[in-house]
Symmetry: C5
Subunit: 323 residues, 5 copies
């Protein structure tokens, strides 16, 4: 599905709707470029675009089937960049991962989007607002998109960070939480996020350090800035993994401590109850000659003895922290 097809000349979007063929012709003029936005295109639809703009046959598969890893490929003068926009659905602690493939050369930028989180609309609006950005050509637009997507990793990192803090509190709270399932699935989300983010750093670094016709030298510091941002995100994701792995181990200890406390408490009560049973058992024996049984105050005396032993045990168990 074609989402948008616009020609930018000297930084300004030309008004009116365009067909793909008109756009392809328009972008051959000096200082003009086309941004063609596609959303989950079908096979035939994309084939038409491909032949119009002369994209490499391999691009078809990359653009139509999602599940690529972030990467930068160079097909003659056209760059193919695959990016993974990510958003964090807080209420069920799930990382949602989309995919955007960008074909960029000085004359056009074709974006193929799959899945949900998309920063492209915002970039388009910014482009219309800031004509000097559009005037710098497709390289600057590429930067805007990459920068936007990487900036959007920040709330994901924050969301994961908040949830890890919550899990830590559960692990070490005195309540009887067992957050093992939550820890495990958080780790899964962290790993998914890492898979979407980590390979991008190398791709952006190439844009920042090597020469490409699309990326003018004065744009490179901007890509270096994005690269730095990615390194920061990666470092935090690594730390999340290490924390969650330690939290898993710490949780086992905490669970084991709490469970044992329960068992110890119940068993301690059984031990206390065994005292009257044993003592009463003795005075329940049927020997003919048991002088205590004949004493007038034998019964209360025995009761008091039992009570005192139980009290003594209770106190000791209490002091030992068992009750």
């Amino acid at each position: 599905m074609i989402v948008d097809c616009a020609v930018y000349e000297q930084g300004h979007r030309r008004t009116g709707d365009l067909t793909v063929a008109e756009a392809s012709r328009a972008c051959r003029r000096d200082g003009a470029f086309v941004w063609l936005g596609l959303y989950e295109p079908g096979n035939e639809e994309f084939e038409a675009v491909r032949s119009e703009f002369g994209l490499h046959p391999l691009a078809v598969e990359d653009a139509i089937h999602a599940h690529q890893r972030p990467k930068l490929e160079v097909y003659e003068e056209t760059l193919l960049m695959v990016l993974k926009p990510v958003s964090y659905i807080d209420h069920n602690e799930v990382v949602e991962i989309g995919e955007i493939a960008l074909f960029v050369n000085p004359e056009f930028l074709i974006s193929v989007r799959h899945g949900r989180p998309s920063p492209l609309k915002q970039v388009r609006e910014r482009l219309e607002r800031e004509s000097e950005l559009a005037a710098r050509g497709t390289g600057a637009v590429l930067y805007s998109i990459v920068d936007r997507i990487v900036d959007d990793y920040e709330p994901v990192v924050d969301g994961l960070s908040v949830d890890i803090h919550e899990v830590e509190e559960q692990v070490f709270s005195s309540g009887r939480h067992n957050p093992v399932e939550r820890i495990y699935y958080l780790e899964r989300e962290v790993l998914d996020f890492r898979r979407a983010v980590q390979p991008l750093a190398a791709a952006v670094e190439r844009l920042a350090t090597r020469h490409f016709p699309v990326v003018e030298p004065d744009l490179q510091p901007y890509f270096r800035d994005v690269h730095d941002h990615l390194l920061r995100v990666n470092a935090q994701v690594e730390q999340f993994r290490e924390l969650l792995s330690s939290a898993l181990a710490a949780n086992l200890t905490q669970i084991s401590v709490r469970q044992n406390e329960d068992m110890r408490r119940i068993t301690a009560w059984v031990a206390i109850l065994a005292v009257p049973t044993a003592v009463a058992g003795i005075y329940g024996m049927n020997f003919d000659h048991m002088p205590e049984l004949r004493w007038e105050y034998g019964y209360p005396a025995v009761l008091i003895v039992i009570l005192m032993i139980c009290l003594f045990l209770y106190r000791r168990f209490r002091r030992a922290g068992w009750l």
Copy 2:
């Protein structure tokens, strides 16, 4: 065993059966190449092929004994590529790993297959269908084979992924599963799969970036595409390992929690039963002076007292989540 021996000229398979010697002569003509397919050849059989096509003596061992790792060797103008086709037998969660050794130079392609999963037949059929592919020579056939094998890794990854999801559900279900054995053997399969796949990436990368007479420059983007695919598979295999390792730890916690719940429940019932035993023991003592024994309603009163204590304990244990 010779499976197939065919000469392709200008993209078309020459009709009729050929002996190895005829094929060897035919492929010396311009624009023609031979594809000789062998299946677990014996020593003598392969020695004949080897001397006919002038393969390196070391190749004998590599081709006859399987259990090579995926690799790319260069013997003068002939490439030796070892590949590991993999399939996933879902019902017993086993990864089946075969082996294909390919000797490729511009004049011939000799495939030596061991074990079961084989994509060669499909490649051969495609070759007969798409004559422009065959017309591009042995490099394109090599690509078709490698691409096919790597594409076939995808269902293996999916199969493992589904099984890991199932294991996760077992770990965190409320039922009394102990999927430790399943986790362990899944890890084993993942490790076996990794061993078959991981070393291939470096070999394919060499095909994509260095110069070989067999691989024409316009084929290299295709190998780069396969390389990218392999990196994706490798990233997922790594994630599987990390998930299974965490699942092993999480399972220990879950098992320990469930077991302790059982023990706590049984012990709590023993504690409740200890109350009537203790109280009844006291009124079973044989003291002469126990006024309660003489009361008319002593017996039902004691029964009620016992019942109330037991009920009180039951409620407390219930509230504490122990019953």
Copy 3:
């Protein structure tokens, strides 16, 4: 907020207050440089400084928003160095991490500080004391700041080391500590510290080995010295992580041993108490023909037998280390 704005000429600080514009003009003279110190500047405030000194537009974001990773960026002749001063708050075992961005070229040094621990005041005082240091230009000042910050990592390492020793003592003490929470949060602090320190080593190494106009060759051994110091800190941080990870595992064992000892002790007492209950139960049976019941010394004899069995059990349990 502008903290300080001073011009140093031939190593001496020129007296009197300066506006940013005056400072910018002053530093264009030979042998003079400006040190402009900012503390959490606002957007407009920093924009004024930026345009006055001709800093790169990207610098704005890096300087105003903290949460950068330590790094070294080169914008034409101006270096941007981001550093993380760290201090250790011992009483709650927290690592406090600030941030300092330094824009350095031969004419000026602009420091932008965020958060608490700051060594800049001390460096400034040293500069006023040692005029030969100031006379060597901004490179020497840069060194002084980096050296100071890295030196201040030492007490952090010491503080963490002391706390890890304390935790070890808790783990292996005979008391009933469960330092699992402390171990976990120490690990968290160690990871935070590592994230602040580790990336700096590569940045300082670049200062020590590559050529920059700001850093004169005779300053490079000094940066090499700092680099060495950083490697030492990093090695220790790594060791902390490994120790804490082992301490977590060792603690689980210790906790499990101590808990089991408690359970074993209570259960052993229950076992001892079951002896009189069982024996007394037998002599509490109501058979008509139980000759022992008629014996004159039956009762004391049974008491003695019970006592002896209990004593025997007590001794055995004691010897087995169960009581």
Copy 4:
């Protein structure tokens, strides 16, 4: 101790015994080389050889004291290669590691062997059988030895693999094995084996890729083949380690499950026995007014009630999988 001292001329072993001095003189002739085999030589013995053949003084220590790691050193035109032949003693699951130091230059090959497993005799016999091998000079002999030793790693890998399979079966069998000690010591053997094998890969790769006077270019594919073999062995050793580490964790879970089953079973029986004790205790009370005691069928009725409660508990416990 001198094991063998032979001169090979044009691929044929010259008959008759030789002294070291004669051998040293003989090998200076064209197309001839000496193979001098020593077994755990003494200081003086080796010193004589060293000065006769002009070996580097450092070689003395390397040759006399074993416990070197596998390596390749170049002393002018003489190579020193240290290899670790390994065999697997199946009955006690121990990896036996020997050591062979080879001094090789075009004129001589001096082998110094320590410890038990030795492939040298087999190589010597092959040399006498295949005169074309001996005719290719010391480089080919070096290859034969290295190839033989690396081939002999295969049965070690197989032996370890079989034992790991056995351990897995023990871990997951329903029997009451605790293979923790076996797992640990297998891991120890795997680590020892790895230490003997892993560093060799780099040494062999140098022989396969760099230029040495001893190794003629047409020998290099052979060393590449050995290198490939070593990579395969290394990959498998790595997998063994990962499997054993997972087996250790899985075993803990299995042990814990089995132990808990035992405890649960015993405790469940105690709980069932507590029922008759409690009920009988109640009818053992001495109240004057307990009408049930006077009923004619009170006793059997109570017995039946007790039996039914016990049966009910038994069934429930059974269904819960506790008995």
Copy 5:
């Protein structure tokens, strides 16, 4: 404190005591060098030496404060090498780590020692014994020191190895050891040792492969030999860590097994004792109509029944391995 100050000319130590100034003058002559040995020098003391020999100002800090990591720094023609001599105090299983800083150029060698284990005296004595060694200049002396220190790592490795073997025996012995504390502290010592040894390998490798005026080419094989030795030590230290980490996990399993055996045994006895209690409880009921109570042999019959049930349980528990 100056420990020794000697001038060596043509390999022979010049007799008589020298001041630092005399030594400094003497070593400017051809074929002569000074070895100045300092032990934990004070600030002023070292400053005097520094200015006399023209050492770099940075050297002061490195030499006076210990706690450097092993390293090799090049200050113009003077090398600074920092080494960590290590010894193993067997009786309390502690690794003692000292520090030696060596300033070496062709004219002098200044050694600054901190802490206890010191091989310098032995090197000095060797130097006086072997004049040809001293005649080769300061590079040879540097080698002697490095070689000695690295040789002294061997007994440390052996000591740790012996202790790890002892710990393994404790873990898997049938006794009730809990070597968790010992394992942990051994790991700590191994980590400390690693930190002292590991960085040295890179420093020695530089001496073996790059060109320095102090190290003549014919000395480089000697440093290569030391480097090899260090790699061996490092490989073993890594293995120690892996073994200790597995021992920690194996110990948890063993502890858990042994503890459970104790609990199971005690609980089994409680279960056996519950039988007479329950049976006797039944015959202690006060029903009017209990025919068994009237039988003449009722009492012994019940005793026999109790005994038989207990014996039956005892046998079953025994067979199940619970007693």
